[in-house]
């Protein structure tokens, strides 16, 4: 009688059989690779990554738009939306790995100039769009354009403006309009006494970085000169601006602004507490959805005028095509098509995305000139000319890696906050910020 026995698993046998299995598993992809890759080659793809838009409907429109373009051109398009805070790390990872998406959408500071050596020159694309739709605005030119060799590293998509939003009934009650920074301070102090302070963040995020730069410029101060050669921060104008912010903070704001992130001022307005914020219109759109009555009482106006000029920071958005992209031609073709349909993007963003090319959305612009959801309908009309008062972080010069690092280290915000909280005098605070900026500029001047 044959007795079946379970064969004994020896150490040697275990190693032998495991090795064979692993070997087979390793070889399988190699054998099948030629067949799989030829199958993949028949399907063209285009991969895009960009930040999750603050207006969710825009992302939905963009996904449908790309899918439609893909089906017309027999290209499978994939769009990945990532949180805005992850954009920088994602770009660094893709550049380091030399692999990733074909088209990369940057938000705000950084990107196009920092990754210049990794990006396809899109000068001819930008020039062709300029021919069709007019010149690129100042804010559109500040990040993607390389002054030294007159080339474009990235395609300017849109910019986000930062207008003022104020509660009309509150300001009417004190008989004032927040059209100048002085009026914001004086009126803000009165409204703070009534429980409605001004709400401008002094924390570490994009909004204060943008807003306080705007205030600095409106007082005649700036971080660097127009050629980006030297730092001009330590000036009488900057000291005046910092003194003003200290007064504004102490008279018209509450200490909670020191802890705020980018959405805090929106909530402050929607909660019915804040009497004025400086923010993209996403705050107003949120308010409309949350409380129509409160939103109707919220008016949008140009940013307050300072002693020198009316100007405010803005955030530019750019598309870069990696040199290692698998479908560079597809990416360029997509951007051409996208530019030709840009007014649709404008509408989908509910007027949040502002055009970088002069005639991309002819005036009167849809939505902004006549917004059926707003009372009155022309409430947002003032935003049609926001390119006249919007600038990127490097203003009056271009943005470049040193300007970005000053931005990412929150030097300008902290300069304002140190004086506002009394940790330093305005003069000391400006001196501190200048030292910080000088160290960063010196470092980058040796590296660029």
């Amino acid at each position: 009688m044959e007795i079946s026995r379970i064969p004994r698993v020896t150490r040697r046998r275990f190693l032998k059989e495991t090795g064979l299995t692993l070997g087979a598993a390793g070889v399988a992809p190699l054998i099948s690779a030629p067949f799989v890759s030829s199958a993949l080659a028949d399907t063209k793809t285009l991969t895009i990554v960009q930040w999750s838009h603050f207006v969710p409907e825009y992302d939905k429109w963009f996904d449908d738009f790309t899918k439609d373009w893909g089906s017309k051109n027999k290209i499978e398009v994939t769009v990945d939306h990532i949180p805005v805070a992850n954009v920088a790390a994602r770009a660094a990872a893709e550049a380091s790995a030399g692999s990733g998406h074909d088209l990369f959408g940057w938000n705000g500071a950084g990107g196009a100039h920092l990754y210049r050596k990794f990006l396809v020159d899109v000068t001819s694309l930008v020039e062709s769009v300029e021919k069709k739709y007019g010149k690129v605005s100042v804010i559109g030119r500040q990040i993607g354009y390389n002054q030294d060799d007159k080339t474009w590293s990235a395609f300017p998509d849109f910019y986000i403006n930062f207008p003022s939003m104020y509660r009309k009934s509150m300001w009417d009650e004190i008989g004032m309009k927040p059209d100048t920074w002085d009026n914001v301070r004086i009126g803000g102090a009165k409204l703070k006494a009534k429980g409605h302070p001004i709400g401008i963040s002094l924390g570490h995020s994009n909004d204060p970085n943008t807003t306080w730069r705007g205030l600095l410029w409106s007082f005649g101060g700036a971080l660097q000169d127009a050629e980006a050669k030297s730092i001009v921060l330590n000036s009488k104008e900057t000291v005046e601006a910092v003194k003003f912010v200290a007064a504004l903070y102490n008279e018209a704001m509450s200490p909670e602004v020191l802890s705020w992130d980018d959405s805090s001022n929106n909530r402050y307005l929607v909660a019915g507490i804040g009497s004025l914020i400086v923010n993209p219109i996403s705050a107003y759109r949120t308010y409309q959805k949350a409380n129509k009555k409160g939103a109707d009482d919220t008016f949008v106006m140009e940013p307050p005028k300072g002693p020198a000029r009316r100007i405010m920071g803005g955030a530019s958005e750019f598309y870069g095509i990696w040199k290692f992209a698998k479908n560079k031609e597809g990416a360029i073709e997509f951007l051409k098509y996208y530019a030709d349909h840009w007014p649709e993007a404008f509408k989908a963003s509910e007027g949040y995305n502002n055009p970088c090319f002069a005639n991309l959305v002819p005036k009167p612009m849809p939505i902004l000139s006549n917004d059926p959801t707003s009372t009155p309908n022309d409430k947002l009309a003032v935003l049609q000319n926001s390119d006249e008062w919007s600038a990127s972080p490097g203003y009056p010069g271009p943005s470049w890696p040193a300007v970005d690092e000053v931005y990412n280290d929150f030097v300008i915000c902290d300069m304002m906050a140190k004086a506002a909280t009394g940790a330093m005098t305005a003069e000391e605070s400006v001196k501190w910020a200048t030292q910080q900026a000088e160290a960063i500029f010196k470092k980058w001047h040796g590296k660029t």
Binding site: G110, Y115, H204, P255, S259, W260, D261
Partner: protein, 309 residues
């Protein structure tokens, strides 16, 4: 005469012979782990070391050697010293708080009570929840407008809205907040460590001490704690290493604010090296962690060796 055939022995191949040797087999089996550590830990560490003495940036990926210039520039910046100080406060503050909470938790969970098993399972949740989700939940609790803590304090008439704590806006409170969140994440781990240590102590030692008249505090501080100190020290090494290198809580909660009060080395290295693209300076900032952690680990391990009984 019957001839008994000699058994034919198959010639043993050299490979089989090698595999039969215990020390060879041990090396073969441990090799994947060593290769893994070398490739995914050792190599990046060496790379970071070289980055820190180079001029490498994302803008200009050059390997040009610059010596210790990056380190000198970093040390010259007064902000860096503040960041270094913050890192120590954050690390040791949260470890201390975590250990105290862990000790209390372990003692509570040693006592029998209905539903103890469920509580033991639930207590591990802070350790298991992804840091991003946990920090966002805490962010709402410390929010300037919708803080449930402040709401409770105001509802109980302890403070007014004007006097309510500005959790993330006051430099000291903001540091306390990041410490609390990290301690909250760490304390389940501390409970597990303490529970493992305490339950491993032979009951007869405790009983003997009790018979000799030792009360709760004496048993706790003169018998239990000294006996479990080696295992607690190992847990502490883990806690210190993970906290000293952590950037997630600060990145998600304060971004180093207000006015740099919560900026820690991991966060500063990330902002400079990745967000701003200055990889060499980012690597140099991060490498400041290495000697500190090395010293902490060596001291703790020496301490454990001396305490071993």
């Amino acid at each position: 005469m019957a001839v008994i055939a000699e058994p034919v022995t198959k010639p043993v191949s050299r490979l089989h012979f090698m595999l039969d040797r215990r020390e060879v087999l041990e090396n073969i089996l441990i090799a994947p782990a060593i290769i893994y550590v070398l490739l995914l830990v050792g190599l990046p560490l060496l790379l970071a070391m070289y980055y820190s003495v180079s001029a490498y940036t994302i803008y200009n990926p050059t390997w040009q050697f610059v010596g210790l210039a990056n380190f000198t520039q970093i040390i010259d910046n007064p902000n860096f010293l503040q960041t270094l100080g913050n890192t120590f406060i954050f690390t040791f503050g949260s470890q201390l708080l975590g250990l105290v909470l862990g000790k209390f938790g372990a003692f509570l969970l040693l006592r029998p009570f209905p539903g103890r098993k469920i509580v033991r399972a639930l207590i591990i949740l802070p350790f298991a929840v992804p840091v991003a989700l946990a920090t966002i939940a805490w962010q709402w609790m410390f929010d300037s407008l919708y803080s449930v803590i402040n709401w409770t304090l105001i509802a109980a008439s302890i403070v007014t809205r004007e006097d309510a704590p500005n959790w993330l806006g006051n430099p000291y409170l903001a540091m306390l907040c990041v410490i609390i969140i990290n301690a909250w994440r760490f304390f389940p781990f501390a409970i597990v460590i303490f529970l493992a240590g305490i339950t491993a102590i032979p009951q007869d030692i405790i009983d003997a001490a009790t018979v000799d008249g030792a009360g709760f505090w004496r048993r706790n501080y003169q018998i239990i704690l000294p006996m479990i100190l080696p295992i607690v020290a190992i847990g502490l090494i883990f806690g210190i290493v993970f906290t000293f290198t952590d950037l997630s809580i600060v990145f998600l909660l304060t971004m180093g604010g207000p006015v740099g009060a919560t900026s820690v080395l991991g966060f500063a290295g990330f902002q400079t090296g990745i967000v701003s693209g200055d990889v060499s300076h980012g690597a140099a900032i991060s490498l400041f962690m290495l000697p500190v952690l090395l010293v902490v680990v060596i001291i703790t391990l020496r301490f454990i060796r001396r305490r071993e009984i």
